[in-house]
C-alpha cells in the first residue's frame, strides 16, 4: 500500500439561496392536485349515486322508499341471496383449489412448476365475459362436453345456464387472483421454521397445521375477501350464462340499461356496495394485525421431493390448467367455426363484424386506444401519487388521507363506479347537499368522452397499482431524498434520475396491469361509453345480447390475443432492459 498524497479538492462556493422554497410548493401543489383527483374520481361521484337511491326516477325525494320496494320485491331479494350464494361458493372453490395449486407451486418438488405458474394465470387475460362464452361452447346445450364432442363421447349436461354456469365462470375468473395472493404468502415463509419443526419431530400434517397454515393466514384471508368481492360484483359471467338466475350485478344492468330506472339501479348498487365495503374493511383490519413473519435473515424454503405428493400435485395442476386451456381453446375454436354446431368447417367469417352489432373493428381499435391511454396516464398518475404519499415531505395528514383514498377503489364494484360517474359527470348542475346551493358542473364536458372512460378505468384499477407502486417505493432507501436535499437537488430531479429508473420493473408492471384490465373490463364502462366510441368488451355484451355468440367469441379471441401479446412484448422488453441494467441490479 503506497501512501499517496492526494490534494484535497478546493472548496466550492454553492449558492443555496436559489433553492427558495419552490420545491416545497411544487410538492404541496402536486399533493393537493392528487387529493383533488382522488376526491373527484372516487368520493364525490358516490354522493349523487347514494343520494339518487333516496329519490324516485323523476327525482322526487322518497326517503327509504326504494329500499322498501327493493326489500318487498321477492325477485330482487332473491337476487341478493343468489349473489351471496354464488360468491360464497366461488370463494370456497377458488380459494380451496387455489391454495392447493399455490402449495404445489411453492412447497413441492413437482416437475414443470414454471409452466404451471404461467399457465395457472392464463385466465387473468381472459375477460369473464369471454370465459362465459367459452363455457357456452363447452357446456351449453350444443357444447362440446354436453353433446359429448357431438356424439362421439358420452353426453354430460351440467345445466350451464344459472347457478352452475356462473360459479364455473367466476371460479375461472377468481382462481388466478387467489393463486397470486396465496403464492406470495406461501413464498414468504421462513424455511428455518420448517427445519425447527422437523428437528422437533413434528409430523408433516402437524407441521402443516402449526407452521404452514398460520403463516399464510393473512394471505388466505386476503384471497377469500378478494374472491368474494370479485364474484359478488362480477357482471360479465352472469350476464352471459346466468339465464334466468338473477344476481345483483345483472339486476343493476337490467334496471339501468333495460328500464333506465336509475333510482333503482342506484338502490341495488348500494346493496352491491355494502358487502364489498364490509369485506374490504374487515380485510384491512385483519391485515393491520399482521406482523412481519419474514425478517431479512429468513431463509427461503427449498422443497424436498416427495414422489407421491409430487405426482398427485402434478395431476391436480394439470387438471386445473387443462380446464382453463380448454375454455380458452374453445373460445378460439368457436370463433373459427362457420356455423356452430351445424357446419363445423373453419372460416374467418365470424371475424367479419360487419353484420353484427357492437362496432366491430372500430370498437376493437377504440379499446386498444383506451387501454393505451389508461396504461400511460394511469401509470404516471399512480406512480407519482404513490411517490408523493410514500416519499413526500410535510402535509402528513394529506398524505395519509391520500393513502386511504387510494385504497378505496378496491372496494368499489365496477358497475357502482360506472353508475356513479353517470350521475356525477352527466349532471349539468350539482346541488350541494343540505345547503340548497347549486353550481354548474365543471366536468360536464368530460361526459361521453374518451377521457372519462380512461379516468374511470384508472380509478377502477387504482388500488392494486397503487399498492404495487408503494411496495416498490418502500424498497428504495428512504435516505435518497435526504441526500438529494442535502445537495440542494430538488426532489423531482431525484425522482426522475433515481426513483423512476429503480422502479422501472414495477412501473412497467403497473402499465401492463392497466392495459390488460382496461382491455377486458366491462362493468365500469358499460354505462359510460358514448355511442360514437364503441368498445370491444362492450361489443361482446352487445353481440351476446343479440345472440351472435360466435362473433362474440371472435371478439373475445381478439381481446385475449391482444392482452397476451402485450404481456409477451413486456417480458421480451424487460429481458432486454434487465440485461442493460444488470450492472447495477446485480448484488
Amino acid at each position: 500500500m503506497t501512501p499517496t498524497t492526494p490534494t484535497a479538492p478546493r472548496p466550492l462556493r454553492v449558492d443555496r439561496t436559489k433553492a427558495i422554497d419552490t420545491e416545497a410548493w411544487i410538492m404541496r401543489v402536486l399533493l393537493t392536485l392528487g387529493a383533488i383527483w382522488l376526491l373527484v374520481g372516487v368520493v364525490l361521484p358516490l354522493i349523487p349515486m347514494i343520494g339518487r337511491s333516496f329519490r324516485d326516477n323523476n327525482g322526487e325525494w322518497v326517503g327509504l322508499g326504494n329500499y322498501l320496494r327493493y326489500l318487498t320485491t321477492p325477485s330482487l331479494v332473491q337476487s341478493f341471496t343468489n349473489s351471496l350464494a354464488v360468491a360464497l361458493t366461488t370463494t370456497l372453490l377458488a380459494c380451496g383449489l387455489g391454495f392447493v395449486y399455490a402449495y404445489a407451486l411453492t412447497r413441492t418438488a413437482m416437475p414443470g412448476k414454471q409452466i404451471f405458474r404461467t399457465l395457472g394465470l392464463l385466465s387473468l387475460y381472459i375477460p369473464p365475459l369471454a370465459v362465459a362464452i367459452g363455457l357456452i361452447f363447452l357446456f351449453g346445450n350444443q357444447g362440446l362436453v354436453t353433446t359429448g364432442l357431438f356424439g362421439s363421447l358420452p353426453e354430460l349436461n351440467i345445466n350451464l345456464y344459472g347457478f352452475n354456469g356462473i360459479v364455473l365462470g367466476e371460479f375461472l375468473y377468481c382462481f388466478p387472483q387467489a393463486v397470486i395472493i396465496l403464492m406470495t404468502a406461501l413464498n414468504l415463509t421462513d424455511a428455518r421454521l420448517y427445519e425447527a419443526a422437523e428437528v422437533l419431530g413434528a409430523s408433516p400434517i402437524k407441521t402443516f397445521f402449526t407452521v404452514t397454515l398460520p403463516s399464510v393466514k393473512y394471505g388466505l384471508i386476503s384471497a377469500i375477501f378478494v374472491c368474494f368481492i370479485l364474484a359478488f360484483t362480477d357482471f360479465g359471467v352472469p350476464k352471459v350464462v346466468g339465464g334466468n338466475f338473477n344476481v345483483l350485478a345483472t339486476d343493476i344492468y337490467k334496471q339501468v340499461i333495460g328500464q333506465q330506472n336509475f333510482a333503482m339501479g342506484a338502490t341495488i348498487s348500494v346493496f352491491l356496495l355494502v358487502p364489498s365495503v364490509l369485506a374490504f374493511v374487515i380485510d384491512r383490519i385483519v391485515q393491520r394485525r399482521q406482523t412481519a413473519l419474514v425478517s431479512a435473515k429468513s431463509v427461503p424454503l427449498q422443497p424436498k421431493p416427495n414422489p407421491t405428493l409430487d405426482r398427485i400435485m402434478f395431476a391436480f395442476c394439470t387438471l386445473v390448467v387443462g380446464f382453463a386451456i380448454a375454455v380458452f381453446a374453445t373460445i378460439i375454436l368457436a370463433s373459427l367455426v362457420r356455423v356452430w354446431p351445424y357446419d363445423l368447417s373453419l372460416s374467418l367469417k365470424n371475424y367479419d363484424f360487419g353484420s353484427v352489432g357492437g362496432g366491430g373493428y372500430r370498437a376493437y381499435w377504440n379499446s386498444i386506444r383506451m387501454s393505451l391511454y389508461t396504461a400511460i396516464f394511469g401509470t404516471i398518475i399512480v406512480f407519482t401519487g404513490a411517490y408523493l404519499v410514500e416519499k413526500g415531505r410535510g402535509l402528513k395528514w394529506l398524505r395519509s388521507a391520500k393513502y386511504f383514498l387510494s385504497t378505496i377503489p378496491l372496494a368499489l364494484p365496477g358497475l357502482v363506479l360506472g353508475l356513479s360517474y353517470v350521475f356525477f359527470f352527466n349532471n349539468p348542475i350539482w346541488r350541494i347537499p343540505f345547503t340548497g346551493m347549486a353550481i354548474y358542473n365543471p366536468f360536464k364536458g368530460l361526459y361521453g368522452t374518451m377521457a372519462l372512460l380512461v379516468i374511470v378505468n384508472i380509478i377502477h384499477f387504482y388500488t392494486v397499482c397503487f399498492l404495487t407502486a408503494t411496495t416498490a417505493l418502500k424498497q428504495i432507501d428512504p435516505e435518497f431524498e435526504a441526500v438529494s436535499a442535502s445537495m440542494a437537488v430538488p426532489f423531482y430531479k431525484t425522482f426522475w434520475r433515481v426513483t423512476v429508473p429503480l422502479s422501472l420493473p414495477a412501473i412497467l408492471e403497473i402499465g401492463i396491469y392497466f392495459f390488460v384490465n382496461a382491455m377486458v373490463t366491462i362493468s365500469a364502462i358499460i354505462f359510460l361509453y358514448p355511442a360514437n366510441l364503441p368498445l370491444a368488451a362492450v361489443a361482446i355484451v352487445n353481440m351476446d345480447d343479440a345472440g351472435d355468440i360466435s362473433a362474440a367469441a371472435a371478439m373475445s379471441t381478439l381481446i385475449v390475443a391482444t392482452s397476451l401479446g402485450v404481456r409477451l412484448l413486456y417480458s421480451w422488453l424487460t429481458r432486454g432492459m434487465r440485461a442493460r441494467s444488470e450492472a447495477w441490479l446485480s448484488r
Binding site: M1, L12, D15, E479, S486, A488, A583
Partner: protein
C-alpha cells in the same frame, strides 16, 4: 488505498472557502463547557432549547449544544436516546417541536434541508444504485450549473481524496461496503458544505474495515477542518474520533465533554456504564470521605454526597490493582475468583469481595501479570480500590440535569 496524512494542508483556492481552516480543536478543548479557545470563537452550530415530540412520546427535551468551527462532535447513546432525531433536526429532515437551530450565524430552524448547508452520510450509504461512483459524486454538482470540465475535475479529486481514484466507473453494487461508504463521503463533501453530518456511517461495515475507516474519516475531517457531527452508538468509535462527545439518554443530554473527560469523570452512573466498563457497588456514606459497602469501608476522597445517603460507588476494571495483601495500602480487600476469561492481551476476572458477596466486580489484568500470578489456578487474591479512582454517585439519580455548556 488509504487517504494518508497529506504533505500539505489542503490547497485553498482563489475563492474564499466556506469553512475557514482553523487549528485542530482536539488539543485545545478540555472540559465540558466552552474552553478558553471557544470563548474566543463563535459557535458554528447552535442548538437552543430544542424539543421534539412524536405524538405523546418525547424524543428530545431541553437540548442545548454548541458546535465550534472545525470541531468533530459525536452524539453517542443507546438506541432510542434521540441522537438520530437530533441529527435529523440539525439537517432539517425533521422539524423540532420547539427551539432553534442556528448555523453559521443564521437561524435555519425552519428552513428545508435543501436550503441548509450540510453534507450527509448514512449508515445505508444511500448511494444511488443506478449511477456510477462518479455520477453519484457529481450528482449535486450537476445541479449547480458548474461547467462539465470543472465537475469532472472536482469529482476526480474527491474520489482521489477518499482513495477511490480509478474506481469511479463502477456501480455501487460492484464496490465493497467500505468503498461505498467512501463514495458516500466524497459525495457529501462534493458541495463543500459547512457542516458534515454522519449518521452511524460505520455501523454496517465489518469490524476491521470499520476501525480502518474511522481513522481515515477522522484524519480527513481534521485535514479539511470541516465542522462535523456524527451519530454513533459505539463508544469506542466516539472515543477514537471525536473532539467532544455528547452522551445522550432518553431524549436529554447526559454529558458533554472531551473523550478523556467523559471517560475519566462520568457525571452519572449511566455515562459511566455506557462509556467503557464500570464496576458498581451499593453503599452508604459513613463520613465525608468514607463509604461503606457491605462490610467494607472504602476511603473515597472524591465523594460529594452528604453523610447517611445511599450511593453507588464506581470503579473501572483497569483501575483496580492486585496487591500482595501484606503491604498496608488503603481500600484493600480480599476477593474470591468466580470465573476468569482470557482476552488475548490479558485476563478478565470476575470476583466477589469478601464481606460483599452480593455484587460481583470485574478486574482486568495484563497477560504478563496474570502469568506471574498463576491466574489459571488462582482461587482468591487481594486487590486495592485506589481511593482517587473511586467515584461516588447518589442512589436513585441516574438522571442528572443537563450540564451547562
Amino acid at each position: 488505498m488509504t487517504f494518508s496524512e497529506p504533505s500539505a494542508v489542503p490547497k485553498l483556492g482563489e475563492t474564499a472557502p466556506l469553512v475557514p481552516p482553523i487549528a485542530p480543536a482536539r488539543e485545545v478543548v478540555e472540559g465540558d463547557g466552552p474552553s478558553d479557545h471557544h470563548t474566543l470563537t463563535e459557535p458554528y452550530l447552535r442548538i437552543e432549547n430544542v424539543h421534539k415530540t412524536f405524538g405523546s412520546f418525547v424524543a428530545l427535551k431541553d437540548i442545548y449544544l454548541n458546535v465550534y468551527p472545525g470541531e468533530f462532535v459525536c452524539l453517542l447513546g443507546p438506541s432510542g436516546c434521540g441522537k438520530t432525531t437530533l441529527l435529523r433536526i440539525i439537517s432539517g429532515l425533521e422539524q423540532q417541536t420547539q427551539g432553534r437551530v442556528i448555523q453559521g450565524g443564521k437561524d435555519v430552524s425552519h428552513l428545508p434541508p435543501s436550503m441548509r448547508d450540510f453534507g450527509i452520510v448514512f449508515q445505508s450509504y444511500a448511494l444511488f444504485p443506478n449511477l456510477t461512483a462518479i455520477q453519484n459524486v457529481a450528482y449535486g454538482l450537476e445541479n449547480q450549473q458548474v461547467p462539465k470540465a470543472q465537475i469532472d475535475q472536482r469529482v476526480a479529486e474527491l474520489l482521489d481524496m477518499v482513495g477511490l481514484g480509478g474506481m469511479g466507473h463502477k456501480y455501487p453494487s460492484q464496490l465493497s461496503g467500505g468503498q461505498q461508504q467512501r463514495v458516500a463521503l466524497a459525495r457529501a463533501l462534493a458541495l463543500s458544505p459547512g457542516l458534515l453530518l454522519l449518521d452511524e456511517p460505520l455501523s454496517a461495515l465489518d469490524a476491521q474495515v470499520r476501525v480502518k475507516l474511522r481513522t481515515e474519516i477522522a484524519e480527513l475531517q481534521r485535514r479539511l477542518g470541516i465542522t462535523t457531527v456524527m451519530v454513533t452508538h459505539d463508544q469506542a468509535e466516539a472515543l477514537a474520533m471525536a473532539d467532544r462527545i455528547v452522551v445522550m439518554d432518553k431524549g436529554y443530554i447526559a454529558q458533554v465533554g472531551t473523550p478523556n473527560s467523559i471517560y475519566q469523570s462520568p457525571s452519572s452512573p449511566f455515562v459511566a456504564n455506557f462509556i467503557g466498563v464500570m464496576n458498581f457497588l451499593d453503599g452508604v456514606v459513613e463520613a465525608a470521605d468514607t463509604v461503606r459497602c457491605g462490610n467494607i469501608l472504602l476511603h473515597a476522597p472524591n465523594n460529594e454526597v452528604p453523610v447517611g445517603q445511599l450511593v453507588s460507588i464506581a470503579i473501572r476494571p483497569e483501575d483496580m490493582r492486585v496487591v500482595d495483601g501484606t503491604a498496608s495500602v488503603p481500600n484493600q480487600a480480599e476477593a474470591d475468583v468466580i470465573s476468569r476469561e482470557f482476552l488475548g492481551s490479558g485476563y478478565r476476572l470476575d470476583l466477589t469481595l469478601s464481606g460483599n458477596a452480593r455484587q460481583p466486580i470485574t478486574l482486568e489484568i495484563s497477560a504478563n501479570r496474570a502469568r506471574a500470578m498463576g491466574v489459571e489456578a488462582l482461587e482468591s487474591l487481594a486487590i486495592q480500590l485506589p481511593p482517587e479512582m473511586i467515584r461516588v454517585f447518589p442512589k436513585e439519580s441516574t438522571a442528572l440535569s443537563p450540564l451547562p455548556l
